[in-house]
Amino acid sequence: MNDHRVYTDRDIHLALDGELLEDERAAFARWLEDNPPMKAVSERYAADRELLRDALAPVADEPLPARFAGFSEAGADMRKVPRRAPWWRAAAAAAIFVAGGAAGYFYGMLRAEQSVSSVLRIADDAVAAHVIFAAEKLHVVEVAADQKDHLVGWLSKRLGTRLQAPDLEREGFRLIGGRLLASGDAPAAQFMYENPEGARISLYVTHCAPAAETGFRLYEHEGARTFYWLDEGFGYAVAGSMPEDMLLRIANASYRQLLSGQDPSG
């Protein structure tokens, strides 16, 4: 009856969480069998959940601390129990960690329909392209920054959007040029920047599913990392091998400039 239903990665979550309708389960299981990448995602999420449950199980099983034991003798006044620092102090510390690591979660969401693997592919491609070309001495770029207008115009034309190379001078990075790359069967643009110490970062732009939108996400691979985000049909990734906080600052600056550049009035 539900054989014609189209399953997506959204159903992976529904299935894991016991929210898939009874009469859809068999068809979903067949769909998984026919989609090894989705099956892998499903198994990975299930394994992560086991890790979580195992890590937390001891908390529920351990004997209650004295302050709660007192409560069980009905009538004991818990207000008398002395405390250490207020619990929100730890929450504040956690918030700082989160704010630092993900200062860019300002916007948006990854639509549940957006395939997990295609989003990660963009990040992965960006990191790979960075690692390969940032290591180049002679041919780090295809078109150098002294022909910036030509470079930006050419890449914009190939990607079919109005690109801009953000100005990262305040972050200490100067545009040295860019190149055209392939991301799957779509074109991708890479702008390369360098600071006076010779450290390089790159901005990678390519197409993605039109509906996809994310906040900042961090992806790391082989010592390089990228903060990436999806917005209005394009995926952007700022990649480099420097510490996370430094890269985040650059990514934030790029993000702000690209966002204002997209303003139709701009």
Partner: protein, 172 residues
């Protein structure tokens, strides 16, 4: 009344587990549980007959959690500095599945609190989407996207934790 108290009491282990996962720090988590129990006890009348004690208590705790998170955010702004960017970038990652509970709980803290709460309520505490959406006072669709994003972030964070772990092992 006594029945209600007993029902609340029976939920303490679950409340502690959820609070620990939300806050990481054991003392802070138990303080949150204590606040939650105090508030629940002082408002027993708000607990409607027939409503699951677990859902009600989680709702009470969620309110306390977001109130304090808001306060913490206002206070915390000026303190926000860079997270430790101390990963050794030079070592090739060797994937080793050697995560301890500690690492898993640390990774969990990297997910935004909204997504963390949604994921925990469903994946660990076993609430249905409908129940969790009620506790968090959000539409089911929002809950689902928080869970989806939370899971994906957790996956990435666990991979990072594994990589750090492998770096540590390699360096020995």
């Amino acid at each position: 009344m006594e029945e209600k108290k007993q029902a609340i009491l029976a939920e303490i282990p679950n409340l502690r587990r959820y609070a620990r996962a939300l806050l990481r720090d054991p003392d802070a988590a138990d303080d949150l549980v204590q606040d939650c129990l105090e508030r629940a006890l002082s408002r027993l009348d708000n607990w409607q007959t027939g409503e699951s004690p677990r859902r009600w208590l989680f709702t009470v705790m969620h309110h306390l959690f977001i109130d304090e998170k808001r306060r913490a955010r206002r206070r915390g702004r000026t303190l926000v500095e860079s997270p430790a960017g101390n990963e050794d970038a030079a070592v090739a990652p060797v994937q080793l599945d050697v995560l301890a509970s500690r690492d898993v709980l640390d990774a969990l803290q990297g997910i935004s609190a909204d997504r963390r709460a949604a994921l925990l309520l469903v994946a660990v505490e076993g609430l249905s989407y409908a129940q969790a959406a009620t506790v968090l006072e959000i539409p089911t669709g929002t809950l689902m996207s928080r869970i989806a994003r939370g899971r994906e972030e957790l996956r990435v964070l666990l991979d990072r934790a594994r990589r750090r772990k492998s770096i540590r092992v390699v360096e020995k």
